[in-house]
């Protein structure tokens, strides 16, 4: 009889340890995925700075979409502080929109046609692919971040994890999903309704 009790007790201890560790691991995964977003944003920043530098020498980029890119990049660089996290996020999202609209791509195409010495430049040829892949990586990083939050929240809310979390509150953290702001969503919806 005593052996049975000891057995049950051991199973409970092992179960507890496994669950506790799983929560820690999931929480860490969320923190890590968020860093991946920063890495990709950094990368994108560097690529654009390179693009602008390369183009500046050959042409007056003021007449193209690159002008907007330069303005956005300058704002983002000057904003680099923790207080302006939301503002910075909105600007980065604006840059993503610019890329998604395709106007940047056509600007680069036109630039390459009009300036043969740029076209011959190997780095310039690779830029479009670099922009596409960096934008994809950024999207996937956001996606992965949201997925890890989902996994963490779903696990945390279930049994027996919710019980463990109530006894160890530092395992409990609220993360916000990466998404565009409410005003932005309204703006997008309104765009589609108008026929202008």
């Amino acid at each position: 009889m005593e052996y049975l009790l000891i057995g049950i007790f051991l199973i409970l201890i092992v179960g507890f340890v496994i669950s506790y560790n799983k929560l820690v691991a999931l929480k860490e995964q969320v923190v890590n995925s968020e860093k991946e977003i920063s890495i990709q944003l950094d990368r994108r920043g560097k690529i654009f700075d390179n693009l602008i530098n390369m183009v500046k020498k050959s042409m007056d980029y003021e007449k193209t979409t690159l002008k907007e890119v330069v303005e956005l990049r300058n704002k983002i660089i000057n904003l680099d502080s923790i207080q302006n996290k939301n503002e910075k996020k909105e600007l980065e999202n604006k840059l993503s929109e610019l890329i998604a609209s395709g106007s940047l791509n056509s600007s680069i195409n036109m630039t390459m046609e009009a300036y043969p010495d740029l076209k011959a430049n190997n780095n310039m040829l690779h830029f479009q692919e670099e922009i596409v892949t960096t934008e994809n990586k950024l999207s996937y990083a956001k996606q992965a971040y949201n997925a890890s939050i989902e996994e963490y929240n779903a696990t945390k809310g279930g049994m027996p994890y919710n019980f463990i979390v109530s006894k160890f509150p530092k395992l409990d953290e609220t993360f916000n999903y990466w998404k565009i702001s409410e005003e932005k969503i309204k703006e997008e919806e309104e765009k589609r309704v108008s026929f202008d």
């Binding site: 995964q29 995925s33 692919e129 596409v132 892949t133 994809n136 996937y140 992965a144 890890s148």
Partner: protein
Amino acid sequence: MSYISYKKVIQKNREKTYIVLGIYLFIYTFLGLLVDIILHDQGGFLSTFKELITFKVFPIFTLSLLLFGFLSILISIKLFSKIQLSGEEYVEIKENNSEYKYLYNILEELKISARMKYMPKLYIIKADYMNAFASGWNEKNTLIAITTGLLEKLNRQEISAVIGHELTHIRNEDIKLTLVIGVTTNLMLFVVDWIVLMFLNGESEGAKKAKTILFIMHFLLPLLTVVLQMWLSRSREYMADSGSVELIRDPSAMASALRKISGDYKENKYNDQNITRKAAYIFESGDSIFSTHPSIKNRIKKLIG
């Protein structure tokens, strides 16, 4: 089809996998016990069976068989990757490769989406047929190979879907699964082979009954294992398709890639290629219980309804 439905597909197929693994372990152990009954050669069938299970009689053959199976799997792991790439002209694509940089980029994109720690090795196979496969035992030494035929005919999004499919095979540990089941099947078939049965003779009632069952298994087992393996393989293929969508959030890309691949195979007659790789490919023609892959029609239906 929504993102959540893909999770359901994955869950259902995971359950199927456990069922098949359970059946395998059961048959494997059961075979061992049958041989032990013959070797013990005393008493009735059920009584000896009970004695073996409770260890009153030491089930030496069963335990040796389990140990041997375990060791065989370990050895196969070492040799596995070398076999997969053999027989073709293949080139490794590294980060600094300029011609196929876009392919390396796609793989890196999906690595981020899949939250993987290590970057799989990337190879291209110079061949006209369209196909891709993944191989490797653990996270640190995985590889993905794609034919140039596929790269030429699919667009960027479709290639992403194909790579997503292969990465999912890696994440789901399908390669491990295929290996374990393959080795176990071969060992099981060996036990019921004529040569072994010749040496197993017993006088007791238990031994005679056990031998009869082994005899029946000799005919039944090959068919059973093939059907089970193929069922499992098709199930994992659906999972890989769903996993690809989970990674790139675009079901139409995978569907259109499959259409292009199957169309290409209809138009051209290709000679294969490495038979050991068959289950690892993204595509195999044919649509029966003996097929490693589900039919293209069914795969597309599961993706976009």
